[in-house]
Amino acid sequence: MPSSNGINGHRHKNRQCNCLKALTNLLDTFVNRPRRRDSLHDQSQKKSFLVHFLGKPPSVLQIQDDPTAEHTLLEATCLELEPREVDKGWASYWEATTPESEENINAGFAARRPHKQKLLVLRVPKSTVVRSGIEIQAKADQEAFRCISDLHRLLDLSSKASRMQLATEIWNIIKSGESGLGKIHYSIKKKDIIPLVTSVYDRCSRDGFQPETHTASQWARDAFEKR
């Protein structure tokens, strides 16, 4: 009985080995493919940026070498990334896949503001947000210009941990001076807003996405008419 048990056990082990080999082969087949897909996905992510508009200045991102800011830098950045209470933890971002789409997003956002105002733009590589494990949801904004409405995204920044993670990544990029990504933060001066919104209006119209002007502010509509 013991030997029989031993033989059976051996056979059983052999079967297990075969099954494991088959499973390993199968996994190799399927795991390798997604890996290849992932690398393509990563490449497209590297070209994408998630654009966010900061609130009333001064912002901690405007002066990145303030010696007195060091000890509260991450906490202060977390505060600026925190969604408003009405947003229930989901922050509004826009996905820019090309420099043109980024311009369209900036113009679309500026045109809806009640006054012509300077824009403070945060521009995080999408790959950074994905690496941070922050959930991104596509949520079209029907009120936006048609050329950007599908680029609207919601980021789950409801937890302090997720905001801290993103803030850390942002400052890592700033401090490492990562090249090839461009600035992570920039501003658009008030005097440059009208040229921006009118040029984007023309481009979107040319591309067959005539912007919905009814959601634009009066100053922007006046600018569209005068151009």
Binding site: F53, G55, K56, P57, P58, S59, V60, Q62, I63, D65, D66, P67, T68, A69, T72, L73, E75, A76, L79, E80, E82, P83, R84, S92, R113, P114, H115, Q117, K118, K189, K190, K191
Partner: protein, 206 residues
Amino acid sequence: MTLLASVKPELRFKLRGDPWHPETPYSTEKMVDEEPRGKGRSGYWDIFQLLVEKAEDICLVTFTAPRVEQSPVDRENERIWSVERIKDIIRSRDSEQIAVLEDDLYDRLNGQEDIFSHIANDPQELINVRAMAARLFIATVFRLGSSGAHLQALADPLSRHRSPLIRLGVLLGYSDAGNMECVRKFLADPHPAVAEQALEILEDAQ
């Protein structure tokens, strides 16, 4: 107690009552004669006259309850409350909501505007909260005009603060107050971002 007066919206003031005679019914005379900061007739009485003379649009002038001397605990509570409102302003993206939050702050801190300055100088607070407090403080000091003269001594050191972000807040405060003379001084700021912002404000103002 509230009084409906017919005044221009930009001339809305929150006038404070008499701290020593809380049982005395309010009257403009009483309010002015026993006004707590000792500015007498030349202060609130003149303001009230101005409100009446410039009467055009309807708005509400509120005469708040008399303010008694605050205990350190009350003052600390006001400071904590103010920090939270400033954080709400920083989180907000909506200019109308920001205006409401700011009005709320100015109303509550009426007469204690130095709290903004203390927040701006407190190294324990977040740097952007300090910079925003500096902006609100400077804007308030200059909006108060002559009645805010005693706060100017606190404004000057902030203009020379070693933190460029706080100086940026101060600069934006001067811009809010429309004080372009003070904005111009920041053209020589040692931090290029502050100097550039000053130039941008002056260009926009032209």
